[in-house]
């Protein structure tokens, strides 16, 4: 088929406008890429999780008890709504691994004696599950085995319930229960330092002294079952046996993290792409509006030749659509790469046996359609105005824009502005809508930059408060069971220990009316120096005798303020329910806890002072000796290393922030270039005659450039405060999206970071204006004056 002449015009116009079209296409491409990446990953994670949970029968309810008799299992099975039940033995152990100095921690889960597990079915990755009758065989989670390079048949030493046991690895597995694994006190998965260990039931019974008993229960429900009723029934059954409260998937650690990530991806999906699509629509609107103005005579001609209004409108819409198509293809390519990168990043934190990317085709389709739609919306006004141009009027040059003296002009008279400055100011006042659109577009770039720099400030504050102020210990020894306070002296005497402080931990349910939250109360001596509670201002507040300190967001959740009483239901010991006043609130960004005085908590539990955790600082030169000694200690079930946690958190987060900041800065620079370049090009095209006239009457290139660059920069300056505002809005939306029991990201506004964002945006705008400025040097003065417009 021969191409129609009008289509040829379209392609040649597109080729001529390539720089402007590309600037727009890149912004659109960013939107498409952001959507493909975030929405694609959102779908992939969501679907993979769903499929994984379905196929491997992820439980609906978890419950734990100190020691419950096995004959309870049929009773749980008979609770209405319960489909299947699995009783297990779980326990924490310390591991002595070949070639590793620091203590590693293992989480033991028992496997049923007869047949594979009914719920939370592990996926075999290599080897086999341990023999039900073997005493020393185990399977471990695949990432742990990989991190250490363990092969089948390799041996590790575990300190189980005070006995050192040599265990043989027979297989590696993945489990829907452990997609995200955190060791005690860790903030990031530590594949070397934390293992999930599957052990045959009989061996576990022996190891943990649990013959005919269990301490962990997983339950699957029939669809339609009322989960709250089942949880209440289970709690009633387990209460006499040290039950600490059953919970649903919402408090399952691994699922909480996966859910948090999925909801973050959703936040990204709804916040970022609309910015790009909006800016791109503005740009198309600006550029196409100018093209239609320039092509008035051609439009009139086409109409005179008998082309219909619709054909002409479609012609200009097609120009926008071509631009969109370039953007979509760019976005798809970049988005596919970024999604791949993100998937690799996730693989470092989340252990899925597979990632379902099937849904991504719809993502590509949706992102393409959205890009086309936003370009079309942007083009609509220009296309309609082209269609509406009466042909006879279209053939004549447009009347010169009407400038009028206004009150603002009279105000400027007093300022004695130069004529070029007046030209800049009048042009902005004459086309306020266009100026506003440019300012809005530029402010979006500033907003993206400000939002990106927000992470920096927020994380600095998180790390400062969490580690420099609150958790200053090098290690926290988690005891297998509460010990008399005297044990702290024993720990203080371990090699390498400089300082040791006692801490008691008690799991409780806090209630206020119908609102409740499971937390652990941590109690320390008032003079504790290593683990402390800190107010938002950084002031150390020790819990007063009799009172409770809660993080602000927990107090908000429970609807209580300092002075109010809260009901405290102890889940261990005598399981009493008491009332305690809320004395103060603090900031807490990682996890959620409750804090009380050491004496108070022991007194409330009517016990001689006991400790559950020992916080210690270490001599850096003697850490090896410390770890060697702790590995031999039967009373220690696990070790948290806040200093290490901080380091890995900082390293990982810094690395991620470097990646995201790079991405955001690139994006913001591209948006700024797109908006500023197109704005300056339009100005130049409108003003070519004016500027040439100025050159002819003796203005220097610099003076003429000042008008062009000056207007761009003035608009860019006006965009800054708006951009900061939008940036804060985006950050705030992010903070809201991330906040959960796991994390709270503080909303920190750092003027220095905003200044950096503005600097980047202003430099990009200047660069764009200077690219266009070069065209002033090439202005053919005679030709411009002769061209009829």
């Amino acid at each position: 088929m021969v191409m129609r002449a009008l289509d040829r015009k379209l392609l040649r116009d597109f080729a001529r406008l390539w720089a402007q079209a590309l600037a727009i296409a890149v912004v659109l491409g960013c939107g498409v890429a952001a959507l493909v990446t975030s929405f694609g990953m959102y779908q992939a994670l969501n679907e993979s999780r769903h499929a994984y949970y379905e196929r491997n029968r992820f439980a609906d309810i978890w419950a734990s008890a100190r020691r419950a008799p096995i004959h309870l299992v049929p009773l749980v099975e008979s609770i209405p709504g319960v489909r299947s039940v699995e009783a297990r033995i779980e326990g924490m152990v310390t591991l002595d691994l070949p070639g590793r100095v620091p203590i590693a921690v293992g989480h033991i889960v028992s496997l049923p004696t007869f047949g594979p597990p009914v719920l939370n079915v592990p996926v075999m990755r290599s080897g086999r599950l341990p023999d039900p009758d073997a005493r020393d065989e185990i399977a471990v989670n695949e990432p742990f085995a990989r991190a250490h390079g363990f092969a089948l048949g390799d041996r590790i030493v575990a300190n189980i319930n005070g006995k050192r046991r040599v265990l043989v690895i027979t297989g590696t597995v993945l489990s829907p229960e452990f997609i995200y694994t955190l060791g005690p006190g860790a903030l990031m998965p530590d594949r070397e330092g934390f293992a999930v260990i599957w052990m045959p039931e009989r061996a576990a019974q022996g190891a943990f002294d649990m013959n005919d008993a269990f301490n962990s229960l997983t339950v699957a429900l029939h669809s339609g079952a009322r989960i709250q009723d089942v949880i209440a029934a289970i709690d009633r059954l387990l209460e006499p046996y040290g039950g600490t409260g059953a919970h649903g998937r919402d408090r399952q650690e691994s699922d909480s993290f996966v859910s948090a990530e999925i909801s973050q991806l959703w936040t990204m999906t709804i916040v970022m792409p609309p910015i790009f699509f909006g800016v791109a629509a503005f740009l198309v609107n600006m550029v196409l509006g100018r093209i239609v103005a320039l092509e008035r005579t051609e439009i009139g001609l086409l109409k005179a030749l008998g082309y219909s209004n619709a054909t002409i409108a479609v012609h200009y819409l097609a120009l926008a659509a071509l631009t969109a198509i370039v953007g979509v293809v760019l976005g798809w390519i970049v988005g596919a790469r970024m999604a791949g990168g993100l998937a690799r990043l996730y693989a470092r934190f989340f252990d899925f046996p597979y990632l379902i990317l099937r849904a991504s085709w719809t993502v590509y389709g949706i992102s393409g359609l959205l890009a086309l739609a936003s370009a079309s919306v942007g083009a609509l006004r220009a296309a309609l105005s082209a269609a509406r141009l009466p042909p006879a009027i279209a053939m004549q040059p447009p009347a010169p824009p009407s400038f009028r003296r206004t009150a603002i002009d009279r105000a400027f008279d007093h300022l004695r502005l130069s004529q070029p400055t007046m030209m800049i100011v009048r042009s902005i006042l004459r086309w306020p809508l266009r100026a506003a659109v440019s300012v809005l577009g530029l402010s979006m770039a500033v907003a993206v930059l400000a939002a990106a720099s927000f992470f920096d400030g927020a994380l600095d504050r998180m790390i400062w408060l969490t580690f420099d102020q609150a958790n200053r210990q090098d290690a926290a020894l988690i005891l297998a069971q509460d010990l008399p306070e005297g044990a702290i002296d024993e720990i203080a005497a371990l090699p390498g220990v400089l300082q040791a402080e006692a801490q008691l931990v008690a799991p409780v349910i806090l209630r206020n009316g119908h609102l409740s939250k499971h937390v652990a109360i941590e109690a320390r001596r008032p003079d504790a120096d290593l683990s402390r509670t800190v107010s938002s201002g950084g002031r150390v507040i020790a819990p007063p005798p009799g009172g409770l300190i809660l993080p602000q967001r927990l107090a908000d959740y429970l609807g209580i303020a300092p002075g109010d009483a809260v009901t405290v239901e102890f889940l261990t010991g005598r399981r009493e329910t008491l009332h305690m006043p809320l004395s103060a609130t603090i900031e807490q960004y990682v996890g959620i806890g409750a804090y009380a005085d050491f004496e108070t908590l022991n007194a409330l539990r009517r016990q001689a002072p006991l400790i559950s955790v020992a916080n210690v600082t270490l001599d850096p030169d003697a850490t090896e000796a410390f770890h060697r000694a702790v590995k031999q200690l039967p009373k220690v079930a696990g070790v948290a290393m806040p200093t290490d946690a901080r380091r890995s958190f900082q390293d990982t987060i810094r690395q991620n922030i470097t990646i995201t900041t790079t991405v955001y800065v690139t994006i913001a620079v591209l948006i700024t270039l797109g908006v500023a370049y197109n704005g300056a090009r339009i100005q130049l095209s409108e003003r070519a005659r004016e500027l040439a006239s100025l050159r002819i009457i003796g203005f220097s290139r610099g003076e003429v450039s000042f008008i062009l660059v000056g207007e761009t920069m003035l608009l860019a300056l006006l965009a800054q405060p708006l951009g900061w505002l939008f940036g804060m809005g985006i950050s705030w939306a992010f903070v809201r999206g991330v906040n959960s029991d796991l994390y709270q990201v503080p909303f920190v506004v750092q003027p220095a970071l905003f200044a950096r964002a503005s600097l980047i945006a202003l430099i990009s705008a200047l660069a764009a204006a200077l690219i266009v400025r070069r065209r002033i040097d090439r202005l053919d003065l005679i030709a411009v004056m002769k061209t009829r417009e």
Partner: protein, 235 residues
Amino acid sequence: MTATVFRTRGLTRIYDTGKVQVRALDGVDLDLFESEFTVLLGPSGSGKSTLLNILGGLDRPSSGTVMFRDIDLTRLDDTQLTAYRRDHVGFVFQFYNLVASLTARENVQLVTDVARDPMPPEDALRLVGLEARLDHFPAELSGGEQQRVAIARAIAKRPDVLLCDEPTGALDSKTGVQVLEALHMVNMQLGTATIVITHNAAIRRMAHRVVRFQDGRVLSVETNDHRIAPQEIAW
């Protein structure tokens, strides 16, 4: 006498610029005939271009009627006017109005793409003597050549009427004559009713009839008994 192609009665066009009302046409009664070469003469603002725009379906009168053969142009809506322009009218403008991004052939094709019974673009360009410049862009053509491309574009659809607004206005005498030759040839060979607006009184001598305008009214209509060939015209 041949049949009328255009008949206007009481044709009035008022431009309302807010404060001032401008009467561009003020009750024009005029008949124009098939196959005729008519020249419209008159000073700037006398209403020539307004009349041409209304005849060509680019503009509408404020009052009065204008008939194209049996069709009352004032009764046509936008879509019908578009169809009217596409099927019956060829335009030639003072400033050529070529699409800069299309070659000579493609500029003509712009018309042949939408016309009912067009001639091949090459034939149209041959008629105006541009068979050697088919693939040149407007920027690569002289003013006279560009105007001849515009004429080829106008005639390629075999229009019933050819409306030319100052076709030689931007040209020197020599190239102007080439353009007039092209118009003359089209009028003679295709029998297209040709209406030419000009400031240039010399051109009137090649017309069948000359209509003079002043202040939006027809001042006089004179018939040329002795037409001269375009080559004999000079200015």
